[in-house]
Amino acid sequence: MRKVLPKAGLNLFCLLVYIFLAAPIVVVLLSSLTTTEYIVFPPKGITLRWYTELLDHPEFMQSFTLSIIVAFGTAIIATFIGTMASIAVVRYEFKLKTAIVQLVGSPLLIPSVVFGVALLQFYSWIGIAASPIALVIGHIILTIPFVMRLVVASLVGFDRSIEQAAMNLGAGSFKVFFQITLPMIKSGVIAGAIFAFITSFDDLTVALFIVSTDVVTLPVRIYTYMQYQYDPIITSVSSIMILLTFVLMVVIERVLGVGKVFASKN
């Protein structure tokens, strides 16, 4: 009895926490099915009306496309240059190394609001208008710390004798990189790219300062829409995003095994 009671208590407590974690997501998903003109939970009746209604709101589709383009651009560039920088940091000794490592990690410490304001002021001074590229540059800064952390981690435990062997057999350094190094640090690089994609796709704070009336990312569109309207359209847009995330998660699980990527050591 003395042993069972604390364990049951622990499990009950954890169950409540899991409900707390799932609650806002479940509520968004279910309220998107309501037949009413306003958001209500539990939904009254079931309809897909709010999903078809999205077709009358091309601005959401435009924002969605823009967000996808920006997130792809960010993920590709940040992963590419972040991997290069990680190799430099792990394999070479050079001056100011500590300072440079701290610099590229510092976007995690600087509040995004302040970075957004700084970037807005800088862009307007040098005359860069709101554009996908302006957004991608801001997002590269936000995502490089994640990419480098993951790639550096996979480079550190790397057995270099295989590379040495390939070199001795006459392979050039490019061939060695693409045929030996890259395949071995693959999981770190892919995890970095996925993190970069999600961070960029999710970013509201920095984008809020850079967007203009024509260039609006999806999070900014949702944020501004819900300040004036309270109809279920937002819940259907959000539900599509949640479902996409689930699909992405299943893909990660199949390719890498999420447990392996996140859990420290199993």
Partner: protein, 307 residues
């Protein structure tokens, strides 16, 4: 004689080759770093540096930024009751979020570390999945739950516990709830890390000496995981004080925090110098937390080494 010269020449050639190799290596490392470094200097350091300068300028109603130098922006903040109130509210929300996060994360981290194999993987995934879902959407879910005719109020009224809806949304309460939801995974990961490092033989020893499970937990497990709790708290606190999305959606203008004030000053009041000054005070708070933490960590290195 002849042989000596040859050896010398050979050494010279080797030395030159080595030097060439080193220079090439140096060049390689800088070439690899160049794109990242260029982007960081040009689009991160430089903009922040200019914003820092802006925070020492006077306000100009026309262009936003005046031409005179002044310390007034910082003085105005630090000697005004209203703004100090905002600062205190930001810190208070950060502390409350950290505290609630510790209380609800610890049992979950404990349960996950105890679980084995597949279950452990699934639970980890479940706990971390909120990280992958858009923050805007999660906060929006809380708006639906906490609004005046939202789920929580409706349920309470149906049960007859309250007569009229409680004001839950746009309060410090809703901001803390939203922040805990967003930052929870960081705390769980941090505590899980230190729980996993505990040597099982220590726990067996405690049990063999006759301690009850509860006694073992409070006098052995909990003290050993304090560094994990501490590290998680620093991360959650500094992310909480600097976050913008959650207080903007769940608090709005009614619950002003530093980040929202920065946003408002710049976009609504167009007072760039004052907005920048508030922003740099916010950076100061977030940084000082981390600096103090790492100082304490090096001092208590011996305590940590026990793990």
């Amino acid at each position: 004689m002849q042989a000596e010269v040859e050896v010398q020449q050979e050494q010279e050639i080797l030395y030159k080759q080595e030097k060439k190799r080193l220079t090439r290596k140096k060049l390689d490392s800088w070439l690899l770093l160049l794109p990242t470094l260029a982007i960081f200097i040009f689009f991160f350091l430089l903009p922040l540096f200019f914003l820092f300068i802006t925070s020492f300028k006077t306000f100009d109603a026309g262009s936003g930024i005046g031409s005179e130098w002044t310390l007034q922006n910082y003085v105005k903040f630090l000697f005004d009751k209203f703004y100090l109130g905002v600062l205190w509210r930001t810190v208070k929300i950060g502390l409350l979020t950290t505290l609630v996060a510790i209380v609800i994360s610890y049992p979950v981290a404990y349960q996950i570390t105890k679980a084995n194999g597949r279950l452990k993987n699934y639970l980890t995934l479940l706990v971390l999945s909120p990280l992958l879902i858009s923050m805007v959407i999660r906060c929006y879910g809380w708006v639906i739950l906490l609004s005046n005719n939202g789920v929580v109020n409706n349920t309470l009224m149906k049960m007859g516990w309250i007569d009229k809806p409680l004001t839950l949304l746009y309060t410090e309460f809703s901001v803390v709830i939203g922040m805990v939801h967003v930052l929870f995974p960081y705390m769980v990961l941090s505590i899980m890390g230190s729980l996993e490092r505990i040597d099982p033989s220590v726990i067996r020893a405690s049990q063999n000496l006759g301690a009850s499970p509860i006694r073992t937990f409070f006098s052995v497990v909990l003290p050993l995981t304090l560094p994990g709790i501490f590290a998680g708290s620093v991360m959650v606190f500094s992310l909480a004080v600097s976050s913008f999305v959650t207080p903007a959606i769940l608090g709005g203008p009614q619950v002003k925090v530093m980040s929202f004030l920065t946003y408002e000053q710049v976009t609504t009041m167009l007072n760039w110098p004052y907005g920048s000054a508030i922003g740099f005070l916010l950076i100061f708070i977030a940084t000082i937390t981390i600096v103090v933490y790492s100082k304490l960590l090096t001092r208590s290195e011996k305590g940590v080494a026990i793990q």
